[in-house]
Symmetry: C2
Subunit: 143 residues, 2 copies
DNA sequence: CCTAATTCCTCCAGTGACTATAGGTTCAAG
DNA sequence: CTTGAACCTATAGTCACTGGAGGAATTAGG
């Protein structure tokens, strides 16, 4: 049985984050010691490692909640898990595409930079005058 | 002189967001009508368009604040503006690299998916067992 | 066995960049 | 002159944490 600090060290999830996950119902309330300190078993550690890994892959907590609820019924079809992963992949690909175009514009902005004063600065100029850039950046920022 | 709704339509920045920018000191307090409604001039519109464009490029508000303070002294060297843009480019490139590796792992996860029950699900399995993935995801999530 | 350092507890506030809601006022069109 | 849209302020909520205050419990060293 691990106290919260050891669990944190074992999973790489910070202590306040573990308590936060408990607070929002992503982790069940663990047992307590006589002195009221949380004690975690192996199942809790596995669950937290799962959450950590999914977070690292960019899954939002709501998707993780859904994935966890799937694992609670192991005989259920895994089509839903597959769908969540595909959604996440599409999301990641959209972000990459978006960032690629931002990179292009930033690179153009910087490569035109010749020094001098703010009044002649290409960076400031491009930011101030949208017509100077090829980018359409429709609305959502991607961040 | 534009009321806030017209300014919003002209720049693509939502009304509450404009008021928020004023609140945090990114936009100066505009003049008011007799009935206490905000009225914006051309300078305000240009400044907001600048902010909008920089936000679209992913600059955080603090960087934008700095860029705006640079434009207030047009005779100053633009090296600082260049540095901010380069920092932003580096940030964007780091995010792209990170997302590329996530994409790889998600693709592997999905391509190994064969259907069946949750108990046999590759997606769930990879998420639960870090050893099954090549990805090192060191700590920061990139999101 | 005692002390000191560390870890733990709860609660509350803050982050970034908005977004939404409630409840009221002013403006412009018909 | 009335109606409805647009405006006002203030507050709270979003996501996923992070940090601090102030105090209790545990552990390691002497």
């Amino acid at each position: 049985m691990l106290p919260i600090g050891k669990l944190s060290a074992a999973t790489g999830v910070k202590v306040p984050t573990i308590r936060y996950y408990e607070q929002i119902g992503l982790l069940p309330e663990p047992g307590r010691s006589e002195g009221n300190q949380r004690l975690y078993d192996r199942a809790a550690r596995d669950r937290l490692a799962f959450i950590r890994h999914a977070r690292d892959l960019g899954f939002p907590l709501e998707a993780i909640r859904e994935l966890l609820s799937l694992t609670d019924v192991p005989t259920h079809s895994c089509a839903a898990a597959d769908a969540i992963a595909r959604r996440q992949l599409a999301e990641v690909e959209a972000r990459i595409a978006r960032l690629d175009s931002l990179r292009g514009e930033l690179q153009r902005m910087i490569s035109h930079h010749k020094g001098g004063t703010i009044a002649e600065c290409r960076v400031i100029e491009v930011l101030g005058n949208h017509a100077l850039c090829q980018h359409d950046h429709a609305g959502e920022t991607g961040f």
